[in-house]
């Protein structure tokens, strides 16, 4: 017993100027189910809305079609008006006879006819509309932050400082990420560790933050507001509760020659170690691959020296499960190593290093205590060649993108070098300088003008060793491609920033998409830069794309604010335009056959599986089930499902079919 009301708006002359509104009204009255139709000058005005409300009550309408401007303008207005009159707002539809009709056609019979058709189509749709209720999803107000670089730290602190719990998971034994490795930071040249360390300590001390280092995400299930994360705490072989971080163990460890990851291989560490002195937590782990006890079964020196008996060789990986409402991915980046470059000797020349290695050389806490000495023989280099864009912007190498920070840190490196070696010569080979950023261009200029860094525009074609010296062959394109050969003591390659190892697997665990370079994709490049395509999973820092610290921090705070927005209400309200899998009478229960081809297609991983069980618990059938929390209502699954077992509320098969039949 459909009782539809049609309200045709003149929009002043905007519609009535070309469309014969009374005729539209008249023709509606011939459609079965239409019990009321009127036209009015301005439907969206207060009196117009009142007409709608009054008619709903007076004619006991079961559906409303407002023929007016685009639904983007006034759909909310009229739906609200309906709700006020006691009609479910989803029983109201807008027929767009302004933008799609009166404004784009001349006044004519055909235009009026089109308006009639458009309204009729909506009438047929609305007859099949169902009452829908907004979906509310409860929210667990704990955030999971993956990655303890500056991005993760910033996001964790922002969220924790608003009073919400945070679980911070870091893969390495300490948080800090790359920023902890840097010497000084452009464009201010303040000491990286000086600004980083206090933040790290803040994390350790914040009671809202639970820190899992040396841990990784095992799996993530659930949906926005209601995730279940499993975290694997890798066996540290050290009891975190007993260890006081006194360091006796690593002082005694006989395995002293292990290249230090933190020092990018330029320094060494022991088998039981903390990555660096300011590590948070400042408690060691045993690197089982290099530990004599684990390798050969003998040693146990550390156990002997540990005053608190904290060494636990038999410790196992542990899985902890946490309920979280939102996830921030901040797993950062990696840099290409020199082995990637055949033309620069495949990494076989010790004195060809990466920018990150240079950071360690320049760092006061680094292996050379901040003195710039070349790795091969410890000599202070007299000529240093910096090669920007090593790998980046090189489609041939598969990395067509710009790493964004190299121009800046290369300038920084050259400057740092010059500050320490005033007579030294610094050359920078570059393609062009990208110094967009506050005080960035000035910074580069300073390198050239104050510190006398030689910028050579051109590519380095080859680096080879000759008589114990590196020869850098290139060309200066500003000088018409004049070939250039520089004998250098040290070559620093600004190697490209790439996705951190395991980024792809992680993205898959999180069900978020990633780009061709395995950087996590944002939901919208402009408007939703900190969201991913999975609701409730946000992204910050260099794992999304190469970026510098200020940008990283800004994005991290952005992500945190999105999380906080989500946590600001007890429940999440969503439009009920979601897919549903049908239910039918037994013995079929649902027409879904459980092919789960829709599951794979859903852009939001909103489709899961549900077992239909008999009373005795026997599984009768496994069918698709849409998670209303995750479903965004695109309808891809609906078009895909062969047996039409899944349908989209608000755009059901019946509705669309009826629309076509009304054409």
């Amino acid at each position: 017993m459909a009782r539809i009301g049609v309200f045709v708006c003149h929009c002043g002359e905007n519609i009535a100027g070309t469309v014969d509104c009374p005729k539209v009204v008249e023709s509606m009255m011939h459609i079965p189910g239409v019990v009321h139709a009127v036209d009015y000058k301005y439907m969206c005005s207060d009196p117009g809305q009142r007409m709608v409300r009054d008619a709903i009550r007076e004619h006991k309408l079961t559906g409303v079609v407002v023929a007016a401007c685009s639904p983007r303008m006034h759909e909310p207005t009229f739906r609200r008006a309906c709700a006020e009159a006691g009609l479910n707002p989803f029983l109201c539809e807008i027929s767009n006879i302004r933008e799609h009709c009166s404004w784009v056609h001349e006044k004519s019979e055909a235009t009026t006819q089109k308006a009639i058709d458009l309204v009729r189509v909506m009438v047929e749709k609305v007859k099949r509309n169902r009452e829908l209720q907004p979906i509310s999803v409860p929210v667990t107000k704990t955030a999971l932050v993956l990655g303890g670089g500056i991005a993760g730290i910033q996001a964790a602190l922002d969220i924790a400082n608003c009073g919400h719990k945070v679980v911070l998971v870091e893969r390495e034994p300490s948080i800090g990420g790359h920023m902890a490795q840097l010497s000084e930071t452009f464009p201010t040249l303040d000491c990286s560790q000086c600004i980083m360390t206090p933040r790290m300590v803040e994390v350790a001390q914040n009671e809202n933050i639970t820190l899992y280092t040396y841990s990784e995400l095992e799996s993530l299930d659930g949906f926005i507001g209601n995730f279940k994360a499993k975290i694997r705490m890798k066996a540290r072989s050290v009891d975190m509760n007993l260890c006081t971080g006194c360091g006796s163990c690593y002082q005694k460890c006989p395995q002293k020659k292990i290249p230090s990851e933190f020092n990018t291989g330029l320094g060494t560490r022991t088998a039981i170690y903390t990555p660096f002195l300011q590590a948070v937590p400042n408690k060691p782990v045993i690197d089982r691959d290099n530990c004599l006890y684990f390798k050969k079964g003998v040693c146990k020196l550390c156990e002997k020296v540990c005053p608190t008996k904290a060494i636990k060789y038999d410790q196992q990986d542990e899985i902890v499960e946490v309920d979280v409402g939102a996830v921030v991915v901040a797993t950062g980046y990696n840099v290409l190593n020199t082995g990637f470059f055949p033309e620069y000797g495949y990494g076989k020349y010790k004195d060809v290093i990466t920018g990150l290695q240079f950071e360690r050389l320049a760092s006061a806490s680094g292996p050379t205590s901040g003195e710039i000495r070349r790795p091969s023989d410890g000599k202070v280099p007299e000529t240093v060649v910096f090669v920007a864009c090593s790998g980046s912007r090189d489609p041939a190498k598969g990395l067509p993108y710009c790493s964004k920070v190299c121009c800046m840190y290369t300038a920084k490196h050259a400057m740092l070098y010059k500050h320490k070696m005033h007579e030294g010569k610094a050359y920078i080979f570059y393609m062009d300088i990208r110094a967009g950023g506050k005080m960035y261009e000035e910074f580069v200029r300073r390198a050239v003008e104050e510190d006398g860094v030689n910028y050579v525009r051109g590519r380095v074609s080859r680096i080879y060793e000759e008589d114990g010296q590196l020869v850098v062959k290139g060309a200066d394109t500003l000088l018409g491609g004049m070939p250039l050969e520089i004998k250098a003591d040290l070559v620093v390659l600004a190697t490209a920033m790439v996705a951190s190892p395991g980024a792809e697997e992680l993205a898959q665990k999180l069900h978020v998409s990633y780009d061709a370079y395995k950087f996590i994709s944002e939901a919208h490049p402009k408007l939703r830069p900190v969201e991913t395509n999975t609701a409730g999973v946000f992204v910050a820092g260099a794992c999304q794309a190469p970026k510098d610290i200020p940008e990283t921090v800004a994005q991290a705070s952005g992500a945190a604010s999105k999380v906080l927005q989500l946590f600001s209400k007890p429940e999440l309200m969503r439009e009920p335009v979601v897919a549903v899998v049908n239910r039918t009478a037994p013995p079929l229960f649902s027409t879904c056959v459980g092919c789960f081809l829709c599951e794979k297609a859903c852009p939001y991983q909103a489709i899961g599986r549900e077992e239909i069980k008999a009373r005795d618990g026997k599984v009768l059938k496994v069918v698709a089930k849409v998670n209303a929390g995750l479903c965004q209502g695109c309808g891809t699954c609906v078009a895909l499902c062969r047996s039409k077992s899944i349908d989209l509320q608000g755009f059901t098969n019946e509705q669309i079919f009826a629309e076509i039949m009304a054409l």
């Binding site: 039918t584 879904c592 056959v593 459980g594 789960f596 829709c598 297609a601 895909l640 047996s643 098969n653």
Partner: protein, 269 residues
């Protein structure tokens, strides 16, 4: 042949399976039909020769057959591929059936208890069309659009909507086929020309990227409509456009469940 019979006897005797789906002699010397062997001595009646072309995988999902217990099935490469495709669509679980794989020449028989083994067995040999069908396909492709329309219309006009094609197709396992959903009635029930066209296009689209080209649909069609050409045409398209070939693996991706950012789109304005 003896090898097959022995395997079947063994499996039944050991109680590894309760029934083996295979071929036996049919009504006349030209036909073979399905056998459901449940006793070791019934294995004697099994045959394996060029008559045995039906895609027996269709029986794996038949409720009445499932009730027989754990099944083994005699499978030529196409049937084996069908099983993998069904697995990739979550209709069969690993270990659920034992496949007695028959090599393309029909000689060797291997027992394949896992999908992994089956994947190795099928390799990359999707079934092609018969020579005759190839000729017809080429002929249709060579026609002008109007001729193609006329050709298919004359074929479709004969369709009586018995849905034997669907019943014979192992990939048409829906609990309720789209033609049976009546709210809305996407496809008319009655076999008139418009409804027939819709049925054929829908069926073909539903099998796009899933069809194994066993040809059972066309064989089943009492009206002799070469409807496997439609699905085969789409299989070719899916392969050309997306590199998708059905039935290669139990975890294979359905061509329409996925995409590549650089899928061709020359036809889109």
């Amino acid at each position: 042949m003896e090898e097959l019979k022995n395997k079947v006897r063994e499996l039944l005797k050991a109680g590894t399976v309760q029934a083996v789906i295979g071929y036996r002699a049919g009504s006349d010397e030209k036909t073979a039909r399905v056998a459901f062997v449940r006793q070791p001595d019934e294995a004697d009646g099994l045959i394996l020769d060029p008559r045995c072309t039906d895609n027996l995988a269709v029986y794996l999902l038949k409720p009445e057959v499932k009730l027989l217990g754990k099944l083994a099935i005699v499978a030529r490469p196409t049937t084996a591929r069908t099983i993998l495709q069904l697995a990739s669509e979550n209709q069969l679980a690993d270990g659920q059936v034992i496949v007695l794989g028959v090599s393309a020449d029909g000689k060797a028989v291997v027992e394949l208890a896992s999908f992994e083994a089956l994947e190795k067995f099928v390799g990359q040999v999707p079934a092609g069309l018969t020579e005759e069908e190839k000729v017809l396909l080429a002929k249709i492709e060579g026609m002008s659009r109007e001729e193609r329309w006329a050709f298919w219309q004359s074929e479709f006009a004969r369709c009586i909507k018995c849905y034997a094609c669907r019943a014979a197709c192992p990939m048409c396992y829906c609990s309720r086929c789209i033609v049976e959903s009546n709210q809305p009635q996407w496809i008319p029930v009655s076999p008139h020309d418009e409804g027939n066209l819709e049925w054929h296009l829908v069926r073909a689209m539903h099998l796009a990227g899933r069809c194994l080209n066993c040809g059972f649909c066309a064989k089943a069609c009492p009206m002799g409509i070469p409807l496997n050409l439609l699905t085969q045409r789409l299989a070719e398209e899916a392969k050309a456009a997306f590199g998708a070939v059905a039935g290669g693996s139990a975890t294979g991706e359905y061509a329409l469940s996925m995409f590549k950012a650089d899928d061709k789109e020359g036809f889109i304005r």
